[in-house]
Symmetry: C2
């Protein structure tokens, strides 16, 4: 048997670290439910042909197969792979269950996903994602683009994180502008602009030239991408840009799409900032690679942790499923990447490594039942409690609690005390007082492990 | 693209069904933490050579591989498979992190596992398991065998299930007896007795004869397996059985092991029944196939659902890891099988399909902000709320709430009402009253979806 060792890209946490991850997931669930999103979970596998639809991600698919395959039986079954995001399985779930779901369907989903990437610094092969989407049947009101962003902004604020800034854009605005300056392959141009952070304006310029876009149009595109305002004031800037850009003949339709997108983006930025102040920025650079999006697009950057890239992204799409008819809007948080940074940068820690607030000491093995009875009376009132595994000297039992961060040790009565249930000691202060197991409560902040901001 | 369809063995739930599953998992987490068990999660993959250690389960391993494999890079990496239980990964986790963990280490773990079985009625290929274990370093006190069973019995009682009966046995008792009647291959005999339910006493008799066990010893073994008492009274029965069984020469050592096991099992049954009345039964038939176990062994049957087999099993083992030195005791619940039965047999349902208690109606799109403001004031006080996606006629908006089981619809003030925040209607009773969005609360039972016993 090979020595055990961590697998690159498959993170695991200690029990104390897991408390932070569980807190993050629990907080997201609470905020999502508070805003009327219901939960689903999907199986982790999908037919490979369905997963492979997206060409970029298909390189990263993990296929699965039974180790002792039975060729006859297995040939009849579809080849399966692990999902690499929660959108592909959600689309399949909606298609499969459309007759049983109520639309607009508001769902959240927090599950692990897998990507068979080459392992490298900070890249996970297994990680949690948390998605929310609202999907309509045939139509979906535009105001839900703001709602989804607001829910995510509130979820991020509820976590032990520095401020998050949402960079918002609108595909219609961008597409209208691109068409206005005569670009035919709008999707191709968007993919180039999406690389601004990686290859810089000169790199993008070169790519666009290579794609046959004329220099004046490229300049206009890069000017558009440079516009960023914390409110609706970008509208004047983009309108002025249109007016002095090399607009092609017969661009009325493009102009209309551009104006509609600008109004929509201004309303979105205002609505998000009204609900969660100082969160949203209109950022005309945001492109999001996927062809999929048709309205609002979102990226989110964590102050002081810009190197993480976008921690929460998404957008508005015309249809969730290939056949059409299910317009929606959604965003996705990369939970494991966030948790990994929280732990690595000391942004959050759990106040102890175990759930229990109390260790009930055992005087000697003959009297173990007395300690167990006290523990059960505490548990009945919701106080997480452990009974000492052994009847070692009390000093040793205190040490046992101390090593795990258990704040209180309860000493059952030896028969000679003033309290029939004995005494409880706060092992941090050393203070020891007689206590009643049906009444004593630890201070609220000691009841359960707390998540402490770093 | 193939039509979407369910995959046999990969269960998925509707949002309303998922509420039941989430309730089960949440309840288990609470009970485990209340008893001082901390949570870990492990990656879902392990090296195949590690998974394949157990010959029986190895047939069911799902291996994973990158779809677009890079033979050069991939050759250097261990072949990976999805875990088929939570014991193998837990053992590896303990071995890997032994320097960072405190022993005895009390952990719970609730994760999906995968088994590439031939799909058949009620067999899942993907399902949740919930495990608790206490693992010592070198030693582990016997009283933890009772503690683990008590925690699991309480967890099952906290769920919307009929009474569960734990059938307990002790490997030492059985092994001592088998050795006493001259059986050399104790593990082989145990594997045969483990099939009692499937092949009956005659089938077991035939198997044991085939393994060379003499007829008198087989009779004695089957007599032992027939003993079942709801308390420690089995001790007299097994002692009497020993006395009239064909005991071999020089069985003093075996007798000692037998007696020690009997005392231990009697103490276990008493302790479990003292903590959770009418739960434990000494059942000398319980064998548990695995060689692994050395002390207490547990199986659990749900009253009226005996066809499910054991829903919660486990035992005491000498070492969690191959190298030795980590004695422990643990039990595992088959969560998905339980949830599937709860849903299928109508044992539990969620009181509604969505988390929100209130739908705030929208008078017209111009006044949407007023509805959103009311919703946010309710959310601030923890009341899950949705704002109507459209400003349809109020009748339509009430229908929207009704279809989802949302009990309350809030109508913002039209400016002419007595209450500045408008009125709230219980759409079940039709009762409508003026309300203050900073003070109104729904009845406690309507705040969140309730799990209703069937």
């Amino acid at each position: 048997m090979a020595r055990v060792q961590p697998l690159s890209g498959f993170p695991e946490w200690t029990p104390q670290e897991r408390l932070v991850e569980a807190h993050v997931i629990g907080t997201l669930r609470e905020v999502f439910a508070l805003h009327g999103f219901g939960e689903i979970e999907t199986r982790v596998v999908e037919p490979v042909e369905r997963l492979a639809g997206d060409s970029d991600a298909s390189k990263e698919i993990y296929a699965i197969g039974r180790l002792n395959a039975d060729p006859d039986a297995d040939r009849k079954e579809a080849k399966l792979g692990l999902h690499f995001d929660l959108t592909v399985p959600f689309a399949r779930y909606v298609e499969e269950n459309q007759g049983r779901l109520q639309f607009p369907f508001r769902r959240y989903q927090i599950q692990k996903v897998w990507r068979g990437e080459r392992p490298q610094e900070g890249r996970f092969r297994e990680f949690y994602q948390a998605d929310i989407d609202v999907v309509g049947r045939d139509t979906l009101p535009e105001h839900l683009e703001a709602e989804v962003a607001i829910v995510m902004a509130r979820a991020l604020r509820a976590l032990p994180l520095p401020p998050a800034r949402m960079h918002l854009n609108n595909r219609g605005l961008v597409e209208g502008f691109y068409r206005g300056v005569g670009i035919v392959d709008v999707a191709g141009a968007l993919r180039s602009v999406d690389k601004l952070d990686k290859i810089g304006p000169d790199g993008v310029r070169e790519e666009l030239h290579g794609k046959g876009v004329n220099p004046e149009a490229v300049d206009a595109i890069l000017e558009l991408a440079a516009i960023q305002t914390p409110d609706g004031s970008f509208v004047d800037l983009v309108e002025a840009l249109w007016d002095h850009s090399p607009i092609v003949e017969g661009a009325d339709d493009a102009r209309e799409q551009f104006d509609r997108g600008a109004r929509s983006l201004a309303a979105l930025v205002d609505a998000v900032n009204a609900a969660v102040p100082e969160t949203a920025i209109a950022d005309l650079r945001i492109a999001r690679g996927l062809d999929y999006y048709t309205g609002a697009v979102y990226e989110t950057v964590l102050e002081g942790h810009e190197d993480l890239g976008s921690i929460c992204s998404g957008g508005r799409y015309d249809s969730l499923v290939a056949g059409g008819g299910f317009p929606g809007v959604g965003m996705s948080i990369g939970v494991s990447r966030l948790v990994s940074r929280m732990l690595g940068a000391g942004l959050a820690t759990a106040s102890r490594s175990v759930p229990q607030a109390v260790l009930v000491a055992v005087t000697d093995e003959e009297h173990r039942a007395a300690s167990t009875a006290i523990a059960d009376r505490l548990r009945t009132r919701g106080i997480p409690t452990e009974v000492s595994p052994n009847a070692a000297k009390f000093g040793k039992q205190i040490q046992y609690a101390d090593r795990r961060g258990i704040p209180f040790v309860w000493f059952p009565a030896a028969g000679d005390g003033t309290s029939p249930d004995g005494e409880v000691k706060d092992i941090r202060s050393g203070e020891q007082t007689p206590a009643d197991a049906d009444a004593w409560v630890p201070p609220t902040e000691d009841l359960n492990p707390r998540i402490v901001r770093g």
